[in-house]
């Protein structure tokens, strides 16, 4: 697959603290790549270093063979986490300004702006003042602003924050469509369910360092082991004796049994002791959401899995 962006050994310090350390990943043409991590993990800093808003202390950002300040930034679209619009201007004026800054032809930009406004249910708003827009409408206009110039790489920092479910769906569909048309997309988000649904690959970062990097399927296969949730009055000690259980979390009558990576679910179920009190039982995979929380709270499922192997 053609490589659009590659980040190599990125390092950045603010004063004495290292906020990024040895960050390396790639974004390919037509793929949606997620960069995940808790607040303050270094996602936005990584993105700002890619956009040339900051420059890394070490390492290199390469876009289509261009490095550092030579990166043709008009081929990149960017929706920052902290974003807004000038207040007392017309929607169309600000979109055309964004297009002009990217050296995109005015007439084409106008047409694209109108098309997208229509697509996002903002038809007829092109002459409205930005002040008159609701927050969600404003977000849509910002999104249009970031893609108006047909970028080859689109960087979206928390594109879903503050959106209602309907708008989230609209954005999700549009992002998928852009990717299928060949745009490389780097996306950061806290909405794990959305990331799980739409992303091809992910890079998880914690305290400025890589935690997980790989394709969504690989990550799920590696980290998203099976877990068995049992509702019933059972002894913790007894649950822990069941084979292939790495860890048990108990909260009242609910017990969650984390299973080893190589578990075969049907055969494992057969060996559940008959003495257990089971009112309800379910087996499913650990979700990305749970992996994220574990990473963020420092428990790290990945680590425990490794420990159990050892």
């Amino acid at each position: 697959m053609e490589n659009v962006l590659s980040v190599h050994n990125l390092e950045k310090s603010f004063k004495k603290t290292k906020v990024l350390q040895d960050i390396s990943f790639e974004v390919n043409k037509g793929e949606i790549m997620a960069i995940l991590g808790p607040n303050g993990a270094g996602k936005s800093t990584t993105i700002r270093n890619i956009m040339g808003i900051m420059y890394p202390d070490e390492g290199e950002v390469t876009f289509h063979g261009h490095h550092g300040e030579g990166i043709p930034r008009h081929k990149i679209g960017y929706l920052p986490e902290e974003r807004g619009l000038y207040k007392n201007v017309k929607v169309m004026d600000i979109l055309l300004y964004f297009a002009e800054l990217k050296d995109y032809p005015k007439e084409k930009a106008k047409k694209r702006a109108l098309d997208y406004l229509k697509k996002f249910g903002l038809e007829g708003k092109e002459n409205a003042s930005v002040e008159e827009l609701s927050k969600g409408m404003g977000q849509k206009v910002q999104f249009i602003g970031s893609i108006i110039h047909e970028p080859e790489l689109l960087i979206l920092d928390e594109p879903f924050s503050g959106l209602d479910p309907v708008s989230q769906e609209v954005f999700k569909q549009e992002i998928k469509e852009l990717a299928s048309n060949g745009t490389g997309i780097l996306l950061s988000s806290h909405q794990m369910n959305l990331v799980e649904e739409m992303c091809d690959r992910l890079f998880m970062i914690h305290q400025g360092q890589k935690v997980i990097y790989g394709s969504m399927n690989d990550v799920k296969a590696e980290y998203a082991n099976f877990k068995c949730t049992i509702y019933g009055n059972n002894e913790l000690r007894q649950l822990e004796t069941i084979p292939q259980v790495t860890r048990v979390e108990q909260d009242g009558l609910t017990s969650i049994l984390y299973l080893t990576q190589d578990v075969q679910v049907p055969s494992w179920i057969k060996q559940i002791p008959e003495s257990l009190n089971i009112q309800e039982l379910s087996v499913d995979r650990i979700s990305l959401h749970e992996i994220f929380i574990d990473v963020a709270t420092g428990q790290s499922i990945a680590k425990e899995v490794g420990d159990s192997h050892a």
Binding site: P80, E82, R83, G84, K87
Partner: protein, 414 residues
Amino acid sequence: MRNSFKVGKWEIKRNIKNKSFIISLFLTPLIFIIFATVPNLLSDNEDQTSATKVYMNDELGVWEMVEPFIEDDPMINWEVVPTTDDWDTMEDRIATQANSAYIELNEETIDESVVTYIAGEGLDPAFDGQIRILEQPLKQIQLQQADLTEEQLQLASMPIHFESIETDEGATGEIEEAEAGLGADPFEKGIPAIFAGLILFSIVITGMMIFQSASQEKKDKVAEIILSSVTPGELMQGKILGYFVLGLIQVGVWLTFALPLAIWLLEDVPVLEYLFVPETAILVFIAVLGYLLFASIFVGLGATLEDAASGSNFQGMVMMLPFLPVIFIGPIVSDPTGTIAQVTSYIPFTSPTVLILRLAILDKWPWLEILISIAILLVSIWIFMKLAGKIFKVGILIYGKNATPQEIWKWLRA
């Protein structure tokens, strides 16, 4: 640079379409006109009603000699009533009339060199000075009666002139100017200076808009989107450029109001002739330098503040810098070549205003001082642009708080 132009163009377009900019654009000259004309109208009325009534018992025919001069002199507003009534009757009459006087001119005046007059109640205080216009003709009569030859008479009645001859080539021109300069026209130097001052004032005002704009950019959180396409330096330059043009547009609009008004008010002054001289170009150049200096300070400062209203004392003090010269106006006007005037010409924050002020007053321009001042200004502009760039780069991307002076200091040293 191309990106700076784009940013500049946008800032111009955005403001031109903004209602409050348009309103202030037209309201400001309107306020100026009101301030310029209303007191004039009021004082005009006052002049008409307050002509001093002067009863003149003139046995010497002096009045006929001075009458044409008095009519020409805008400073003297007399309504002269010839009279032959004696001192006592006049004393009673003057006592009952406000702003009136009685002057007696006869042989006794000539012999004793004393003009006696009765000053009524509420007499214009300027009357003491105005009455001196009678001195010259009385002296002449005295001399005529002294039986002098024509030559002696001429010599005696000729006032003493003081002429300076300088060693450099410009000397002859200097004298000519000095001779013509007795009634020297304050407008000749004043109009280019007023013009430059207007430009400086206007662009300092738009400079403050730069501050607003940088701070607003932060508040609206647009900065990061823009910075994904342009560098912080380009964004800053674009703002400085854009607001410079806005300032010129403002001056242009104001001038379309001010010029016809000035031409109308100052009927006898060839306003346009005085305006289009090489001096104007230098003064305007100084004004532009002043703008660049303050604009770079303000754009950096604006990037440190999210909410202009919550700025600390530090930022407030910096905002007051353009008004610093106001403190020195008194001493400079009274002594335009004095130490204070010279020193403030060399301090970058005061030098644009002080220079324009001094050059308006001084007949002979201190070229060396002007050059040094301009050099200092150019260097400071370069330094402040660098510093502002550093502050702007970091400040514009910090959200949710205002920067403290300590932080700003840290950015500057980075």
